[in-house]
C-alpha cells in the first residue's frame, strides 16, 4: 500500500493494454457473427426452396425419421447409462478378473470406430446363423440400439469410474466405520456422489450418442440423414433438406442438455443448503425410502 501511486501508474498501463485486447476481441467476435449471420441469411434466401421445405411430403418423412431417432436415442440412452454404471463399478471392483474384463471392454469399444462395431453387429452377427435361420426380420434398428448401447456404455463407464475416484476415500472409510458393508457404502454413500461428479461427462456423451445416430444411415436405418440423402438425390437440392436436418438434431440435443442441466440442479446439494439442497433431499430421500433401506 505504501507504493500505491507507483503501482497505480503501473496498473493503469496494464489496464490500457487489457482494454485494447478486449476491444480487438470484441471487434473480431462481432465481425465473425456478422459474417456467419450474413452467409446464413444469404443461403436461406437464395438456396432454400421454401415451398419444398414446408411441403407435407418432406416434412412428414423427416418427422417419421425424427420419431425413429428419438426412440432409438431414448432406448440406447437408458441402456447405455445403466450398462455404463455396471462397467464403471466393474472398473473399481476388488476382483481382478472383473476389473480386467471391464478395462478390456472399455479399451475395445473406445478403441474401435462405432461404424466398425455397427458393421460387426449388422452384417457380421446374422451370418453366425445358417441362412434364413436368423430370428430378426428387420435387424437394422435392433443392431443400431445394440451398437450404440455397447459403444456408449464404455464412455459412461469411464465417466462413472472418474466420478467414483473423485469421491474422497474418507467417505468410504466413514461409511465402513459405521458398520456398512462395502456394497452398502458404495450404494448409499459413494455412488450418489460419483453420479453427481460424472453427470456432466455422461451428459456430454449422451449428446454425442444423439449425433452418432447419423451413422446409422449406412446400416439402412431410415433415420434423419437417410431422408436427407434421399431428398437430395431426388431433388438435387441439398440446402433445403439440410435445414431440416439441422433443426431436428438441435431439437434433440438441446432437449437432452436441458434434461441433464435439470438433473445436475436437482442433485446440487452445494453449500447453500437452500432450494437445490431441499430439492435433492426430496428426491434422494424418496428413493431411499422406496427401497426399504435394509441390507445387512
Amino acid at each position: 500500500m505504501a507504493t500505491q501511486t507507483d503501482s497505480e501508474t503501473q496498473s493503469s498501463g496494464v489496464l490500457m493494454r487489457d482494454r485494447l485486447v478486449r476491444r480487438v476481441g470484441e471487434f473480431a467476435a462481432g465481425g465473425f457473427v456478422l459474417a456467419v449471420g450474413g452467409l446464413l441469411v444469404w443461403i436461406l434466401t437464395t438456396q432454400v426452396n421454401v415451398q419444398l421445405l414446408t411441403s407435407p411430403l418432406i416434412a412428414g418423412r423427416f418427422f417419421e425419421a425424427f420419431l425413429l431417432v428419438v426412440r432409438i436415442v431414448v432406448i440406447s440412452s437408458v441402456l447405455s447409462v445403466t450398462a455404463g454404471v455396471l462397467v464403471g463399478l466393474g472398473r473399481i471392483s476388488t476382483s481382478p478378473i472383473t476389473g480386467r474384463i471391464a478395462t478390456g471392454y472399455i479399451e475395445f469399444f473406445r478403441g474401435t470406430p462405432l461404424l466398425f462395431q455397427l458393421f460387426v453387429i449388422y452384417f457380421g452377427v446374422p451370418r453366425l446363423w445358417a441362412t434364413g435361420e436368423f430370428p430378426f426380420q428387420d435387424w437394422a434398428v435392433p443392431a443400431a440400439i445394440i451398437g450404440l448401447t455397447l459403444n456408449h456404455a464404455a464412455y459412461v463407464g469411464e465417466a462413472i469410474r472418474g466420478g467414483i475416484d473423485a469421491v474422497p476415500d474418507g467417505q468410504m472409510e466413514a461409511a465402513r466405520s459405521l458398520g456398512m458393508s462395502r456394497v452398502m457404502a458404495l450404494r448409499t454413500v459413494v455412488m450418489p456422489q460419483a453420479w453427481r461428479n460424472a453427470l456432466a461427462a455422461i451428459g456430454n456423451d449422451q449428446i454425442i450418442l444423439v449425433k452418432d445416430t447419423s451413422l446409422l444411415t449406412v446400416i439402412a436405418v431410415p433415420e434423419i440423414m437417410s431422408v436427407f440423402r434421399n431428398i437430395n438425390s431426388n431433388q438435387l437440392d441439398p440446402w433445403t433438406p439440410l435445414v431440416w436436418v439441422c433443426v431436428l438434431y438441435l431439437a434433440i440435443t438441446m432437449s437432452m442438455s436441458q434434461f441433464v442441466d435439470g438433473l445436475e440442479r436437482r442433485s446440487d446439494w452445494g453449500s447453500d443448503g437452500g432450494m437445490f439442497g431441499r430439492l435433492s433431499r426430496f428426491s434422494s430421500g424418496g428413493a431411499d425410502d422406496a427401497d426399504g433401506g435394509r441390507e445387512s
Binding site: P168, G170, Q171, E173, A174, A175, R176, S177, L178, G179, M180, S181, M184, T188, V189, P192, Q193, R196, S267, W269, G270, S271, D272, G273, G277, R278, S280, R281, S284, G285, D289, G293, R294, E295, S296
Partner: protein, 242 residues
C-alpha cells in the same frame, strides 16, 4: 481388577517394509479416557485405526470386551466402535439429520422414525438442534465435526475413537468440539483419542500414552505426566511443547 474393555496385545503393523507399530501392549478400561500423544509419524493414528480394522495388523491381537476383533465379523466390530476423523467425512449429499440417522436405519434396521427421533436427540446433545436440515456444505467445520460425533454415537458404540478431530479446525472452533468430547467423558464413555491439544489432553484424559517410532514409550496418569513424566522421552516431548 476387572478386565479391560479394549486391549492391545503385542501388536505389530507394517506398511510394506516399514514397521509402524512395534509390539504394542495397551489396556483401556471401561469408562476410561486414554489420550495418545506423540510426534507425527509415531503411529498414533494407525494404532486407533487398527481397533476397527481400517488397518490390518500383522501380528498380535486386539480385543474388545474380551473378544478378538480379528476373527469377528468386521461390520459387527465396527458397530461397537465409533470413530471420528480429522476431516469429518460427513456425507455431503445428506442433511445433518440424515447423516446421523443413515447407519442406524441401514445397518441396524431401525425404523426410519425411531432413527430420526434419536438423531434429533443426538444433534440436540451436540448443540445442533437447529441445524438438522442443513447440508454439511452449509455448516462450519466445528459444526460438521459435532455432527460427525453425533453420527458415531448413533450406533451406540461401546468405545469411541477420536483421530485428531480438531486438527482441521480453525482455532476458534476447537472449543465447541472439545466441549462435546468432554461431555462424553463425564458421561462415562470409554474413549481413545489422538490429539495435539495438550491443554485438552490434560483436562479430559485419565491416562496419557506417549508414542514414538511405533512404540509406546510412556503411559502415565495424566496429572503425573504433565507434572513429572516418568521417562526422558516424555520430558523431551513436553519441553518441546513449551
Amino acid at each position: 481388577m476387572s478386565d479391560p474393555l479394549v486391549s492391545f496385545d503385542g501388536v505389530d503393523k507394517y506398511f510394506g517394509e516399514t514397521q509402524v507399530l512395534c509390539d504394542v501392549d495397551l489396556a483401556v478400561d471401561e469408562r476410561e479416557v486414554v489420550v495418545v500423544i506423540g510426534p507425527s509419524g509415531s503411529g498414533k493414528s494407525t494404532l486407533l485405526r487398527c481397533v476397527n480394522r481400517l488397518e490390518t495388523i500383522q501380528s498380535g491381537d486386539i480385543q474388545i470386551d474380551g473378544r478378538s476383533v480379528l476373527d469377528a465379523d468386521v461390520n459387527e466390530v465396527r458397530q461397537r466402535v465409533g470413530m471420528v476423523f480429522q476431516s469429518f467425512n460427513l456425507f455431503p449429499h445428506k442433511t445433518a439429520l440424515e447423516n446421523v440417522a443413515l447407519a442406524p436405519t441401514r445397518v441396524k434396521g431401525l425404523p426410519a422414525e425411531t432413527a430420526e427421533e434419536r438423531a434429533h436427540d443426538l444433534l440436540d446433545r451436540v448443540g445442533l438442534a437447529d441445524q438438522t436440515d442443513s447440508y454439511p456444505g452449509a455448516l462450519s467445520g466445528g459444526q460438521q465435526q459435532r455432527v460427525a460425533i453425533a453420527r458415531a454415537l448413533a450406533m451406540e458404540p461401546t468405545v469411541m475413537l477420536f483421530d485428531e478431530v480438531t486438527s482441521a479446525l480453525d482455532p476458534e472452533l476447537v472449543g465447541e468440539v472439545l466441549d462435546v468430547i468432554e461431555g462424553l467423558a463425564t458421561e462415562g464413555m470409554t474413549m481413545l483419542l489422538v490429539t495435539h491439544e495438550m491443554g485438552f489432553a490434560r483436562e479430559v484424559g485419565d491416562r496419557i500414552v506417549l508414542m514414538a517410532d511405533g512404540r509406546i514409550v510412556e503411559r502415565t496418569p495424566t496429572r503425573d505426566f504433565f507434572e513429572e513424566p516418568d521417562t526422558e522421552r516424555g520430558r523431551q516431548f513436553l519441553s518441546r511443547l513449551l
